[in-house]
Symmetry: C2
Subunit: 329 residues, 2 copies
C-alpha cells in the first residue's frame, strides 16, 4: 500500500468516526422546539471556523446558575436541608438551642416558622451549621451528606434531582470547547465537593457565596478555619462581581432561572459580538414544580419580562424537555 493510499485510508477512518459522532443527538432529552434550535444555532455560529461569529476556544465561557437551573430548588433550597440536618446533629452539643430561636422552632420541626424569619434567620442557621471547622472537615461533612440524604418529596438523592437536559447541554458545550462555570448564590464550598462528579465542573470553575476563612498552623499543620462571617454573596448584583473576580472576562453565554440571575445575564449578553442568554421557566407541576412571578424561592418576574424585550431564550420545562431527571438504577 502506498503512502497516499495509507493517508486515504486514515482520512476515511477519521471521517466515518466524526459522521458517527454527529449522528447521535447531543441534546436527546430536548424536544425539537425553539429553545433547542436557538442553542444549536448559537453553538454552531461560535464554533464554526467559517462563521462570522466564530470565537477562539479561550473566549467560549458559559456560566450556569445552580439552584433551579441545574437542579431543583423546591420546596426550599437543598442547601437548607443540609443546614437543618447539621443543626439537628449539632443540637446535643448546644443545649441552649432548646429555648433559643430560630433553633428551638427548627428542632421542633417547625421549618415554616423558621423560613418566615427571613434573611437574618437564614444567616443565623447557615453560620451555626457551616462555620467553626476547617475547610477539609467541612468538605467531608458535605460529601457524607450528599451521598446519603434524600429529598423529602421525591425520595431521590439530591444529586439525582439534576436536570438531564441541562447535563446534556453542559456536555454539548464542552464538546464544542466551551469552558463551563457555575455561578450560584449557593455556598461555594457546599457545591465543590460534588460538582465535578455530577456536572463535570471542577472546583476551580465553581463561583458561589462564601464565608471568611483564616489560615492557621495547628501543630505545625496548616489549616483554613471557617469563620461565622459573610465574605461574599454571589446573588443578583453580586453575580457579575463574582464572575469578574473569578473568571476575569465576560462570558458569552449565561443560563439561569430567576431574578437572582438577571444581572448575570445582563452582564453576559451586553458584551460585544455574539451572546446567548437563557432562562429555565419552571412550568411543570406534574414532573417537577411550577412557579414564577409570585414564588418565594426562585422568583422569576423582572427577568421574564426582560427576556422578552432582550430576546433571551426561555425554556418552557413542560413543553421543551422530554425528561426532567436522569433515570435512576
Amino acid at each position: 500500500m502506498s503512502v497516499r493510499m495509507l493517508w486515504l485510508f486514515f482520512v476515511l477512518a477519521v471521517s466515518s468516526l466524526s459522521i458517527h459522532a454527529q449522528a447521535a443527538d447531543p441534546l436527546a432529552s430536548w424536544n425539537d422546539t425553539a429553545a433547542k434550535k436557538n442553542i444549536i444555532t448559537f453553538v454552531e455560529k461560535v464554533a464554526s471556523p467559517n462563521s462570522s461569529d466564530f470565537l477562539p476556544a479561550n473566549e467560549r465561557i458559559a456560566v450556569f446558575d445552580n439552584d433551579g437551573t441545574l437542579w431543583s430548588e423546591q420546596p426550599m433550597y437543598f442547601q437548607l436541608y443540609f443546614a437543618l440536618d447539621r443543626i439537628k446533629e449539632l443540637a446535643p452539643r448546644h443545649p441552649e438551642w432548646k429555648t433559643q430561636e430560630p433553633f428551638a422552632s427548627l428542632l421542633k420541626g417547625d421549618v415554616k416558622a423558621v423560613l418566615a424569619g427571613g434573611k437574618k434567620t437564614l444567616l443565623e442557621i447557615i453560620m451555626a451549621s457551616h462555620a467553626g471547622m476547617t475547610t477539609t472537615e467541612f468538605e467531608n461533612i458535605v460529601k457524607d451528606w450528599i451521598e446519603t440524604a434524600r429529598h423529602p418529596k421525591t425520595e431521590r438523592l439530591y444529586t439525582e434531582m439534576v436536570f438531564q437536559p441541562m447535563l446534556e447541554l453542559l456536555a454539548y458545550l464542552r464538546d464544542n470547547d466551551f469552558k463551563t462555570f457555575i455561578v450560584s448564590g449557593g455556598g461555594i464550598e457546599f457545591m465543590r465537593p460534588w460538582t465535578e462528579k455530577v456536572y463535570g465542573i471542577p472546583p476551580e470553575q465553581v463561583v458561589g457565596s462564601s464565608i471568611v476563612t483564616t489560615f492557621a498552623l495547628r501543630n505545625d499543620e496548616p489549616v483554613l478555619v471557617r469563620q461565622a462571617k459573610v465574605n461574599f454573596i454571589d446573588d443578583k448584583e453580586g453575580k457579575p462581581v463574582g464572575i469578574n473576580i473569578h473568571i476575569g472576562r465576560q462570558p458569552i453565554a449565561a443560563f439561569g432561572n430567576s431574578d437572582g440571575d438577571l444581572q448575570m445575564i445582563q452582564w453576559t449578553t451586553a458584551g460585544k459580538g455574539i451572546r446567548f442568554g437563557l432562562l429555565v421557566h419552571h412550568t411543570d407541576a406534574e414532573r417537577e414544580w411550577a412557579y414564577d412571578r409570585e414564588s418565594h424561592i426562585g422568583q422569576l418576574n423582572k427577568a421574564l419580562d426582560e427576556a422578552e424585550t432582550k430576546g433571551w431564550t426561555v425554556v418552557d420545562m413542560k413543553q421543551d424537555w422530554k425528561v426532567i431527571y436522569p433515570s435512576v438504577k
Copy 2:
C-alpha cells in the same frame, strides 16, 4: 498492506514522533544542577501512569507567585511604576495634589520619600490610580501601559523582564497536563490583561489582590465600577485563602521567591501524597539583582530557613539559570 502491517506502521510513526519530542530539552535554559533534576523527577513521578505517585490530570494544580518568581521586582514592584505613571497622568485633574502628600513628593520625582511612607502611603497611591473607572476602562489603561512602558534600568518592556527558565517550566508542566495558576500579591486586574499572552495563563487562572467593584447600569448598559476600597490582599496568610476561594483544592506544586509565599508553599506541600515546593533565590547581581534576608522588596528570610528543614528546592539564579530574560528582537 494488511491491517496488521498498517497498525505497525502507525505505531512506529507515533513512537518516532514521541522519541523526537523527548529529545528536545523542555528546560533548555536550566543548567543540569539539582534544581532541574528535582523538577523533572517530580513531574515524571506525577505523570507516569506506572508511578506510585501518579495523579490524574485534574489534580495536577501548580501555583506560581508573580513578582520575583515569574518576572523581576526590583528596584520596586512593576505595578508601582504603573501607579506612578497613572498619578502623573491624572495630576492635571487634581490640582490639590501639588501640596497634598504623598502626591506632592511623588510629582516632584521623590519616589524614595513616598516609599518610606510604608503601607498606608502605598495604599493611597494605589487607590488614587486604580479606582474610579469601570473594569473595562481599567483593562484598556493597563494594556496601553504594558505595551509601551519601559523599565528605568534595563530599558526593556516589563513583559520582557519575565524569566525565560520559568516560561519553560510553565510550558513543561502544561505539557504534562498540569493546570498552571498565578497566585500573586499584585492586583488581579493589573495582571489579567497580559498573562495569557505572556505566560499562557488565562484570566480565570490568575489569583491576586483586588479592590471592591460594584455593578451598575449606565444608560441601560451594565458596568462594573472600581471602588477605592480594598477587597482582598493576596499575600502571606492570604495566599492559601485566595487559593481556596479561587481554586478550591490544594495545589500539588508551589513556586515562590519570598516570605510572602511562605504560607502558600506550606499549604501546598502539607497535602497528602507527592508535593513540590520551590523558591527562586535572587543571587545574580550582574544579570538581575541579588537580595534576600534584608531586602525591603521580596524579603526572603523565614522561607529560606524553612526550605532547608522541609526539603523545598531552592533555585540559585546565578548557578542554575543559563539565561535570565528571553532574547529580544
